[in-house]
Structures are given as C-alpha cells and as structure tokens.
C-alpha cells in the first residue's frame, strides 16, 4: 500500500545494491485493474458468441456460459459492474485534481494526458526498434501505456453508451435519430471487437509478454517493482525522484511470496482466457 510504505528505514547498503522495491500502483489502482479485467473477460466471453453467432463455436460457448438466456443476463451484469467502476474512477480523478488539489493529474510528467514528449517518444522508440537510435527514456507513463488507458477510457464511453442505447432502446429513441438505432449495434460490436483484439494481443504482449516483462508484469498485481526494473523501464521518473529527494518515500516492502504466487495464478488465468477468446475471435473472423 503506497500510503503505508512511507518507510522510515534508511537505505541500508544491501538495499542500495538493488534489492530495494518501490511502489508504483496504489491498492485502489490495482483493484481497479482487477475489476476491469475480470468484467472485461466476462463481457468478452458473453459478447463474442453474439458478435459471431453464426460461427461453429458460438452455440457451444453460449451453452458454456449458461445458455442463450443467461448470456444476456451476464453481459448486462458485467456491464453494470464495469460502469460502476468507470464512474468511481472518474469521481476519483476529479476528487484528486479538484478537491485534493493534487498536481500533475491533468498535465506534466505524472499525468495520463498525452504531451509533446510522447509524440517524440513514439518516433524515437520506433527508430530504436530498427536500430536507428537510442532507446528513449520514459517517465511514469510511457506513450503505449497512455494509449492503453485512453483506449479503454474511450472504449468504455463508446461501448457503454451504445450498449445502454440498445438495452433501453425505446427510451433512447426519444433523443437519437432513427439511423442511430441501427448504428449503435455496429458501433458496439466493432468497438468491442477492437477492444478484444487490442487487449488480448497488443496489451498482453506490450505489457506482459515482451522480453522485459515476460511472462507477466507483476507490478499491476503487487503494486511494487524492483529498483532495477524501475531504473530500466522508467529512467526519467527514477532520476526525477532522486533529484527531488522523493525516492525514499516510494520505498516499499518486497511483496509476500504467497501474494506473488496468487497473483501469478490469477494473471495467468486471465491471460489464458483472453488468448482462448482471441483465438476464437480470429477463427470466426477469418473462418
């Protein structure tokens, strides 16, 4: 817990040599990610059979979820859960920025909002991919992480709105033009498909499966990472913490073994389900 990790321990020599751990995510943020991925997996598993209802596996998957009747019920159930999580998140942001007057929520190095450095990072990063330059130094949130965040943010608004418009169509019909009643299904299913394809391939690889983090980046589960990882992945933030003398305040306990193992099981389960759904999606899309 980042609030409780404000340890008074002095940096013992052996800690300085690389055994130290630093907090990255708060318990609330990690919980948000857990709620996000479990509801998202649920929505994907109950939405895909509808999107690809003509595919060979659709009926089987619908049956597995609990039959054609249960599938809509669960889809709506997960939708409500995710909607609540989304609203809580938006409330938190405004509370942090406007009530607590926290700095760097909407701008600066610690913000999720994209800035000019992100644009430069994209090009520099890609130059590095093909051996044309140095690997750029990232700050607290790299551009692909910001993209993930905003993709989900935008996705929830778009998918959520179009979903509720279908759910309460007679009500929404009062405000929406006629063609929109048709368009909401197209929007809902295409944006949903994009989210599924993106999360289960790009996000999985970028965040978890790439060599630097393989097989899984545990920081989103444990909230802490090793000093080595911190330095390597986010050198700018690390340097800034050192320069501002705040590094010590981020010191955290190394996570408990059982919690790491538990997180691994949950994480692998989520990734496995995601990959299975990805394969089903691809077979239906190209089949």
């Amino acid at each position: 817990m980042p609030d409780s990790v404000q340890t008074t321990r002095t940096s013992a020599p052996e800690q300085a040599t690389g055994n130290r751990h630093f907090a990255r995510f708060t318990a609330a943020q990690r919980t948000m990610h857990a709620v996000l991925f479990s509801t998202f997996l649920g929505l994907a598993a109950t939405g895909l059979p509808l999107r690809f209802s003509e595919s060979i596996w659709a009926r089987g998957l619908a049956k597995f979820v609990g039959g054609f009747g249960a599938i809509l019920f669960f889809h709506k159930f997960f939708a409500i859960a995710l909607t609540i999580a989304f609203l809580v998140h938006v409330k938190d942001i405004f509370q942090r920025a406007l009530v607590k007057r926290e700095k760097g929520v909407f701008w600066g190095a610690t913000s999720m909002v994209a800035n000019w450095k992100d644009v430069k990072d994209i090009f520099a990063h890609m130059r590095w991919f093909i051996g044309l330059g140095q690997r750029p130094k990232f700050d607290r949130y790299a551009y692909w992480e910001k993209f993930d965040y905003w993709a989900v943010f935008w996705g929830m608004i778009v998918i959520g709105f179009s979903g509720y418009a279908m759910w309460f169509a007679p009500f929404f019909a009062h405000f929406l033009p006629g063609w929109a009643l048709n368009a909401v299904l197209v929007i809902h299913s295409e944006e949903g498909l994009l989210a599924i394809l993106f999360i289960f391939s790009i996000h999985f690889v970028n965040t978890h499966l790439r060599p630097d983090s393989f097989p899984m980046d545990m920081v989103i589960f444990t909230g802490v990472e090793s000093e080595e990882e911190f330095k390597h992945k986010r050198p700018l933030e690390y340097q800034r913490m050192v320069a501002e003398g705040k590094l010590e305040s981020r010191l955290a306990e190394k996570p408990q073994k059982w919690f790491v193992n538990f997180s691994r099981i949950v994480g692998f389960l989520a990734i496995s389900v995601g990959l299975i759904l990805l394969i089903l999606t691809l077979t239906a899309y190209f089949g």
């Binding site: 059979p49 509808l50 999107r51 209802s53 003509e54 659709a58 009926r59 619908a62 049956k63 039959g67 054609f68 009747g69 599938i71 809509l72 990063h125 890609m126 590095w128 991919f129 093909i130 051996g131 692909w144 993709a151 279908m166 169509a169 007679p170 009500f171 019909a173 009062h174 929406l176 033009p177 006629g178 063609w179 929109a180 009643l181 048709n182 368009a183 299904l185 197209v186 929007i187 295409e190 944006e191 498909l193 994009l194 394809l197 993106f198 391939s201 790009i202 690889v205 970028n206 790439r210 060599p211 630097d212």
Partner: protein
C-alpha cells in the same frame, strides 16, 4: 349318388384348410383361420367367390390369383393410374393385409384404420422398406416425429393427418402430376381441407396470390413446414430452421437480418423470443408494407414491435430491421458509421501489430546480446 360338392360351404374347405400347418407342394402355407375369416369383412362370402376357378372337388393343384377387381373395380381403376399401378409389386394385400382377415377401414383391426396407416405405408416407405430401392426417401420416421405423427400415435387423434389424408389411397399420384393433391399448386387446398382458416389467410397473402397467378417459385405450405417432418411452429426447433427457409428466396433480407441483434441472439439456439421473419411479417397472410393491413405497414409498427418491446413508440420504430450497412445509398449514415469503425479497427491494429512485432524483435535481440555479454564476462 354323391351329393353335389357344396361350393359355398366354408366348412367344407376348412375341413382341409382349417389346419394351420397345411402346405402346398411348393411349401407355402395354405391354412386359413376360419374364425378370423368369418369375422372379417368378407366373412359372409363363399371361398370360391374369390377363388373363382374352384368349381368342384378335388380342385386344381394350382389356382389363379384372386382378382379383387371383380368386386372392387372402382379401386382397381384408380390404382391402375397411380404410382402403385404395378400389381405384382403392389398387390391389394400389401396395404390391406392378410387376404383372409381384411376389416373395414373404420375397424381398429384394419391395416388401413387411420391409426394403422403410417405403419402400413411405412412397411415400404420407412428406413428398411422397398421404397428405398426405387430411390424414394424414408419418410416414416419424419412423419412419426411430426406434429401429425405425434397427434396420431400419442394422442390417437383420428382427425390427425395420416399418409392418405394428403396422398389419397388407391389413386396416389406423383407430386409432379398436376392432378395430385401433393402437386405444388394443390398443396394449399390439400392442407386447407383441415386447416381452412390458414388456407384463407394464405390465399389472401402475397405467396398465395403468387401461386394462384402461376408463379410457382412462391412457397406453399410444405416449403416452410416441410411435407412430413412438420413441427409445432412455436417450438424452438422450428423457429431455428425456418428463417433460412425464408432466406433461400429472400437472400438480401436474410443477410441484412443476420446483421441484427434479432438474428445474433436467435442464432444461439432455442431463444424463441427473438423476432424471426414471421413474427413481424406474419406467417400466412404476408402483405407488403404498402398494404394498410400488413403488420409492417408504418401505421402498425408500434403495435407489431410492441408485441416484444414494451414501451415501443413512434421514434423507436424508426429502427430498420433490414438496414444494410454496406449500402451507401440506402443507409448513408449507417454506411459511414460502419466505415469509420472498420477503419478505426484496421488502422489501430495495423499500427500496433507492426509496432509490437518490431519491439519484440528488438527487445529479444538486446536481451540475447546482454546475456552473451554477461556470459563472456563470467568466462
């Protein structure tokens, strides 16, 4: 002097033929159950009324085949023009059963009593019947599983359609024969002989009018309900199978229907509540939207949609159940929404797939380089 041989006396014949084990020289059983025979519809006849070549005793060793047509000439005439005209393959007894125990068709013991008809016809038109040798399909199992077969075999409903209700009995004609009750143009009348109200609706609808006008591509009862495996239309099995049947002619409507939520949820099996073609268009009296009495006429849409969608209102029914997202002229807004979504999906994924693959290669390359450098260092 010997009394003249009493040719009319069954008892005389039965004195020999009453022995159930009696056989002729080629080994055929020629015994007759006298009691059963006397109870049968022909029980009052003399043996040689049918076995007409017996005049005296002892009678010839080999007798001519019995000619039922001597009395039943009407039936014989009809049979001659029918698909069963070949008397060798289809003797009267093949349907009416054992010659010495024929009962009237209203008698439950009769092979042609309504409840027994399917089994009788099914001897040839079933899975292992002779009919298959002539390239005919096995229809008995389909019929037995149908709503008619069920009513007949499980409920014992004498009014339920059995084979001969639709095909006739002696004068059965091929469905390709315009005089046959199963000829396409005649099917509405054939089914309508029981389902009178539905026939009236059908005749008033677009399909009925088309058939009446000689447009034979239009469907008749059997095109949607099938001929033998007729299901209860409210059953999910029927609701699952019939949308593609409508779609086999209305291809563009099926493909646009497939794009809707109605189809998506409905395709998952058994979900009887989602709208299929006839839930909106009606089943038998199908009319174009321009007809004010059609359920899809603009003025009726709120009621039609409202049957499933509580709270359906005038704005709600502007939804187009057959909108085509690929038709720019017909549905421009939907077309561009789809195009935008497709482009968004394609461009986002294309960029990130390339980005991720390059990244993977580079990161792995660095990792290997670093490892080998460490290896060198340790060495």
């Amino acid at each position: 002097m010997l009394a003249p041989f009493a040719t009319h006396a069954q008892t005389d014949c039965l004195s020999c033929h009453g022995d159930a084990t009696i056989k002729d020289d080629s080994g055929h059983n020629i015994g007759v159950d006298g009691q059963k025979f006397s109870a049968s519809i022909h029980g009052s006849l003399k043996c040689n009324d049918c076995h007409a070549d017996i005049k005296d005793y002892p009678h010839p060793e080999h007798l001519a085949p019995v000619e039922c047509s001597k009395c039943h000439s009407d039936e014989q005439d009809k049979l001659k023009g029918s698909v069963h005209a070949d008397g060798k393959e289809h003797p009267c007894t093949s349907c009416h059963g054992d010659a010495h125990s024929i009962f009237p068709k209203a008698d439950p013991r009769s092979a042609v009593y309504p409840l027994n008809v399917p089994a009788t016809c099914g001897k040839c038109h079933g899975d292992s019947g002779e009919g298959r040798k002539h390239g005919l399909s096995s229809v008995l199992p389909n019929y037995m599983d149908s709503i008619h077969g069920f009513a007949l075999s499980k409920e014992g409903l004498l009014v339920a359609a059995n084979c001969q209700s639709c095909h006739g009995s002696h004068g059965i004609l091929s469905h390709t024969n315009p005089a046959s009750p199963t000829f396409k143009a005649n099917i509405p009348k054939t089914c309508g002989s029981c389902h009178a109200k539905i026939d009236m609706d059908y005749e008033d609808g677009a399909h009925g009018k088309a058939i009446a006008a000689g447009k034979m591509k239009a469907p008749v009862c059997t095109d949607c309900h099938t001929a033998h495996a007729i299901l209860q239309p409210t059953e999910s099995a029927f609701r699952m199978q019939s949308t593609p049947i409508c779609g086999s002619c209305h291809k563009d409507k099926l493909s646009t229907y497939r794009d809707t939520f109605h189809s998506q949820l409905g395709s998952l099996g058994g979900y009887v509540e989602t709208a299929r073609c006839w839930d909106c268009h009606g089943a038998h009296k199908i009319l174009p939207a321009s007809d004010p009495s059609s359920p899809i006429a603009p003025a009726n849409l709120v009621v039609t949609c409202g049957r499933c969608h509580a709270g359906a209102n005038a704005s709600f029914v502007r939804y187009q159940p057959h909108a085509n997202a690929h038709d720019r002229k017909l549905n421009p807004a939907l077309y561009f929404v789809r195009l935008f979504m497709n482009l968004l999906l394609a461009s986002t994924l294309t960029f990130f797939v390339i980005h991720t693959i390059l990244w993977l290669v580079r990161a792995r390359y660095d990792q290997i380089k670093k490892k080998s450098a460490e290896g060198d260092h340790h060495a």
